[in-house]
């Protein structure tokens, strides 16, 4: 809860927040860093998180592209793309790419859903603090948008080698990414502790 006294997390200055509400952005007077960013209501966030998760299933299991090289046709899904790499021997890269591109975004959505649904079921924010901390730790490692751009770069690189056709999986991944980012932008985990201000 920010009412009363808080401190800037980026420069350590003590800030008195006289009237706090969850619709304005607050920044530090000394280092100009934002220390409170308004989010949307948890109901909206929950709906958006569920939407994103639904898009995730076709994104990962449907083929993202088909390529044809000298008569051989080959469809590739994201799941195979991640899985194949493990057998290539460079397991560390496979793990880093799979985790940051696909798994951590999914995990973040799971955590958001658990927190928002948990609050709806009447759990106290304090009992959700483990989820909250995991969310804060992981949120810096979600790189789904980089992954999407890399798919496009890979396609352009392949364009000279083979015939390429885009498949539905890629569009699903695009939708997943858009809904995922809307969820992340709308969700302000710090509002867990501002419930009394939000409900007013």
């Amino acid at each position: 809860m920010l009412r009363g006294q808080t401190a800037c997390g980026d420069c350590g200055v003590i800030i008195d927040v006289d009237d706090f509400d969850t619709t304005h952005q607050y920044s530090c007077p000394r280092c100009h860093s934002t220390f409170y960013r308004p989010g949307e209501s948890f109901d909206l966030v929950m709906v958006m998180a569920i939407t994103a998760t639904l898009f995730f299933v076709p994104a990962i299991f449907l083929p993202i592209m088909t390529l044809e090289i000298m008569g051989q046709s080959h469809s590739i899904t994201l799941f195979e793309a991640v899985w194949f790499f493990v057998s290539d021997g460079y397991i560390i890269i496979a793990l880093i790419a799979a985790a940051s591109g696909v798994l951590i975004p999914l995990l973040l959505l799971g955590l958001i859903m658990m927190m928002t649904i948990g609050l709806k079921l009447g759990y106290k924010p304090r009992s959700l603090s483990y989820l909250f901390r995991s969310y804060e730790h992981l949120s810096g490692w979600a790189m789904a948008e980089v992954y999407l751009v890399s798919i496009f770069v890979a396609m352009i690189k392949l364009d000279g080698m083979a015939e390429l056709t885009l498949d539905f999986g890629l569009f699903s991944f695009g939708f997943f990414l858009v809904t995922f980012y809307i969820t992340i932008i709308w969700f302000n985990p710090h509002d867990l502790w501002n419930q009394d201000v939000l409900e007013k």
């Binding site: 880093i96 751009v149 502790w193």
Partner: protein
């Protein structure tokens, strides 16, 4: 202008939930996280991770990123050769994206990290405002240097036509992945508040900083 800092007021801020409380307790009353006035061993860890990342950047730029085997010929290409390939084939936009993501961003990020560390080590709080902005910037752009790793990961799994053509990862991929991850960890470990701690010239404050 006179600023009160959390150290001077004997308060500690929860890094997770933003709750401010007296420094007598080590656990956050609001969310139960472990609390530190400043991130523990921030300067030492940031130096360490930043140095390790710089060392990994050398093989990352010299070794081939991926090896293309087509009709029996092996052909490796480094990051820079990949960029040049795009420029030569009329895809200057993509070439520029890869150049920025894999060469400009990692070097810029490490330079900024060393700059931030120098500010902390010498107490140059005059630079603190600009440095805090740079810190936010490298936080934001850091993940884009993973782009080339993802491209290689995708290419390897997509192009597998046994005898006709196949792609394998080169040594640079793993070195580059390590360099990027270590830079991100270094940024996480760095505590920008340390740059501001020397702003007030009172003796107690400086002693407090050294103690942590």
């Amino acid at each position: 202008m006179y600023w009160r800092s959390d150290i001077g007021e004997e308060k500690v801020l929860c890094r997770f939930c933003g709750h401010l409380q007296d420094e007598t307790r080590s656990e956050c009353l609001q969310c139960g996280s472990e609390m530190h006035q400043r991130k523990p061993y921030s300067v030492v860890l940031t130096w360490g991770y930043a140095f390790a990342a710089s060392i990994f950047l050398i093989p990352a730029n010299l070794l081939p990123m991926m090896v293309v085997t087509a009709l029996g010929n092996d052909e490796g290409s480094t990051i820079m050769e990949g960029v040049i390939y795009f420029f030569e084939h009329g895809e200057a936009g993509i070439g520029a994206i890869i150049f920025i993501a894999s060469i400009v961003v990692p070097f810029f990020k490490l330079t900024v990290l060393f700059y931030l560390l120098v500010i902390v080590q010498f107490g140059l709080h005059g630079h603190a405002l600009r440095a805090t902005r740079l810190f936010h910037l490298i936080h934001f752009i850091g993940k884009w240097s993973m782009l080339d790793i993802f491209v290689v990961a995708l290419m390897v799994s997509i192009v597998q036509f046994q005898s006709l053509a196949s792609i394998h990862t080169g040594g640079a991929a793993i070195a580059f992945a390590f360099a990027v991850v270590l830079t991100i960890v270094a940024t996480e470990k760095f505590d920008p508040r340390l740059m501001w701690d020397s702003v007030k010239n009172s003796k107690e404050d400086i002693i407090c900083v050294r103690r942590l």
